[in-house]
């Protein structure tokens, strides 16, 4: 009985925050217009020739994101010429995580010479619509009859700590499947990451 009550109390306390939101594989994704580190606004509509996009929610402060920086740069160089540009989006509220402020984003983008746009989700609506929960968190979109369809959600690969130890490159094989006209398998993976910082 005690168990039952604590379950009820728990549901009252937290139940509403656990409701699932955001995209699932197969959903239609919305475009966005966000401020890039170069001061310009960027939308996916600015890429009429793209076959799809590798959208990565990421940030400055999170060591899991930092550990993937070089791998994100490599993905961009490999897949933008093939029609799948990387677009990085920082979803964090910089009043809660000062290292993720717009000015710090510019500093990091210059230090690492990011070859991809690094956008600020200033009103934090994009990560909520997509359903990103952590950094890094990848959404691969494919253009199909004018729509952007979510084809893969998850991790970049299967080792956040050491690129040398990776045995499964999820993003790379997902794009390879799309290029062959198939669907990624796996289409959904999980990864350890930093919580996206927002005011509840």
């Amino acid at each position: 009985m005690k168990r039952f009550f604590s379950l009820i109390i728990f549901s009252l306390l937290f139940g509403f925050t656990l409701s699932a939101q955001g995209y699932e594989v197969g959903d239609k994704a919305m475009d966005f217009t966000l401020l890039n580190v170069d001061g310009k606004m960027v939308s996916m509509a600015d890429y009429p020739d793209a076959k799809g996009f590798i959208v990565i929610f990421t940030c400055n402060h999170c060591p899991y994101s930092v550990a993937y920086e070089d791998r994100k740069i490599a993905l961009s160089k490999q897949f933008e010429p093939l029609g799948y540009p990387v677009i990085a989006i920082n979803p964090n509220d910089s009043t809660l995580q000062p290292q993720d402020s717009y000015s710090q984003m510019i500093v990091r983008a210059n230090e690492k010479q990011f070859p991809y746009p690094y956008l600020l989700d200033a009103d934090q609506s994009v990560f909520k619509t997509y359903g990103a929960t952590r950094t890094p968190h990848v959404f691969i979109l494919n253009k199909e009859e004018g729509d952007l369809i979510v084809k893969y959600i998850g991790a970049i690969d299967n080792n956040y700590e050491d690129a040398e130890e990776v045995t499964e490159k999820y993003v790379e094989s997902a794009i390879a499947s799309l290029q062959e006209g198939g669907n990624p398998d796996p289409a959904f993976t999980k990864a350890v990451g930093c919580t996206i910082k927002y005011k509840k």
Binding site: L18, Q97, R134, N159, T189, K190
Partner: protein, 163 residues
């Protein structure tokens, strides 16, 4: 006795030794297969298993709430594990100094298993992988929460589970 079993015995001794109010200066390092046993006990003990990292601000912010809970119930049928997801290379440079500086009374282990997609669902299918995250269980009762906890929230869940 094969070394493997000796290791398991040492590990079990480390994790179950009472009282818990002792600073363990050297957290055990384990992969998920070794860690998994701590998610499956059916021994009437309340387990509070918190996933965190030294660099994770919301995790560090809520640690005092866990410490307070551990102080309150540590001598009862209660076991707290603070499961660090820091990188292996930060074990000596960050994790151990952090435990010492903050005088953590709850036991810390370093879960070193970067193929997280293979094990996140085994902790809870509700977990996206973001930290902080906490599993509280006793026998077949389980509550998982991704995000922070206040002391009162923790206490509300744990207190009724302790006879």
């Amino acid at each position: 006795m094969p070394a493997f079993f000796v290791n398991i015995l040492i590990l079990m001794h480390t994790v179950f030794s009472e009282p818990v109010n002792v600073v363990e200066s050297k957290p055990a390092i384990m992969d998920f297969d070794t860690f998994q046993q701590f998610l499956e006990h059916e021994n009437d003990t309340v387990y509070v298993i918190n996933f965190w990292a030294t660099w994770c601000a919301p995790c560090v912010k809520e640690l005092p709430n866990f410490e307070k809970l551990n102080q309150k119930f540590g001598d009862r049928n209660f076991k707290m594990l603070l499961v660090s997801l820091d990188f292996r290379k930060m074990y000596e440079t960050r994790l151990i100094p952090f435990i010492e500086e903050n005088k953590l009374s709850a036991e810390v282990i370093l879960l070193h298993d970067p193929d997280a997609n293979a094990w996140i669902d085994k902790v809870s299918p509700e977990w996206s992988g973001a930290i902080p995250a906490t599993l509280i269980y006793k026998n077949d009762f389980r509550v998982f929460h991704e995000g922070g906890y206040t002391f009162d929230e923790l206490n509300t869940i744990v207190e009724p589970l302790i006879p």
